[in-house]
């Protein structure tokens, strides 16, 4: 289990982390709109995260932090 944090300051809602998450626990949060006007990504099930870092590897805006 790892903790995935997406910075809504950096996230532009491109959805690449959603596409590359093997656990399918990343989603765009349509209830939040960032300052730049995007729906940011968020992790919907922290318990299932296996810390593969795929989302962080594919994030063009380096918005994702993964902690143990």
């Amino acid at each position: 289990m790892a903790k995935v944090t997406v910075s809504i300051e950096y996230c532009k809602g491109c959805g690449l982390c959603v596409q590359f998450c093997d656990q399918e626990i990343m989603q765009l949060n349509t209830e939040v709109i960032t300052q730049k006007g995007y729906h940011p990504a968020h992790c919907v099930d922290q318990e299932s995260c296996n810390a593969c870092l795929n989302c962080a590897m594919m994030c063009p805006d380096v918005a994702i932090t993964i902690e143990r």
Partner: protein, 253 residues
């Protein structure tokens, strides 16, 4: 125990500044930029690196790195890098250029810096289109590719054939490393990071000109969603620009 050692498995590298980058959502420029910043951080070179930004989407990339940066005239980044490296040989010098900058207006500077064997690293971002100016035909646009200035697809009889930069430069004696990578999947991102680190290491060993070509997407000007653009890159760009090492003077060792 391990949690106490280093709880952060992945975070923003010290090589990047705190600024939010200016790239469009889903543009792989951001990944390439992160890999360069991570490489200079991991090699402990932040204090001694000078980067040169091009004209193009990355024109204000000097805002996004935490190392020193210089902004060069269109296409002239290898010439500025030559001057910097000759004046300050102890510094690590890299240029970060797009295909319009490097392969079009800056082709002369690129080829001559390469054949002189200037001890610099060129990070070449190839997305087969002009990004910042609005999606015009680039020297690297594929045959038949629809752009703003080739609305019926690139006609090679009129617009000529695309340039394969790594293959072209690999024939020159001054080149120490010419490698083409992409960043369209997590495994390819890791391989690209290794290639960039290798290029910086070769430069610091004084082996000569190093170029890493990174195939990226341009979702905005390709007119595709970020995830569809990755598929287009895989189906069209990679077959025309095969990935691999085109020259590596240490490959035999």
């Amino acid at each position: 125990m391990t949690a106490e050692k280093n709880p952060i498995l992945f975070g923003r590298t010290a090589g990047l500044s705190e600024k939010v980058n200016n790239f469009c959502p889903g543009c792989l420029h951001g990944i390439a930029q992160r890999l360069v910043a991570e490489s200079i951080d991991r090699l402990g070179l932040i204090g001694q690196t000078v980067g040169i930004t091009p004209v193009g989407c990355a024109v204000i990339a000097y805002e996004f790195y935490s190392c020193d940066m210089v902004q060069a005239a269109h296409g002239r980044a290898p010439a500025v890098a030559t001057g910097l490296k000759r004046a300050r040989p102890e510094n690590t010098i890299f240029t970060y250029q797009g295909d319009g900058d490097l392969a079009s207006i800056g082709m002369a500077e690129t080829i001559h810096a390469a054949t002189r064997g200037e001890n610099i690293t060129v990070i070449f971002i190839n997305n087969a289109i002009y990004g910042m100016t609005g999606g015009q035909l680039a020297p690297t646009s594929l045959p038949g590719q629809i752009t703003q200035t080739s609305p019926y697809g690139r006609d090679v009889k009129v617009a000529g054939n695309p340039i394969r930069v790594c293959e072209l430069l690999s024939s020159l004696d001054g080149v120490a490393l010419a490698q083409r990578v992409t960043v369209n999947s997590p495994s390819n991102v890791r391989k690209a990071g290794k290639a960039i680190r290798k290029a910086f290491e070769y430069q610091n060993e004084g082996l000569g000109f190093t170029i890493v070509e990174i195939l990226t997407t341009c979702p905005t000007n390709w007119g595709l969603a970020p995830n569809k653009a990755l598929g287009w890159l895989e189906d069209n760009l990679i077959p025309y620009y095969p990935l691999g090492v085109y020259k590596d003077i240490k490959a035999g060792e």
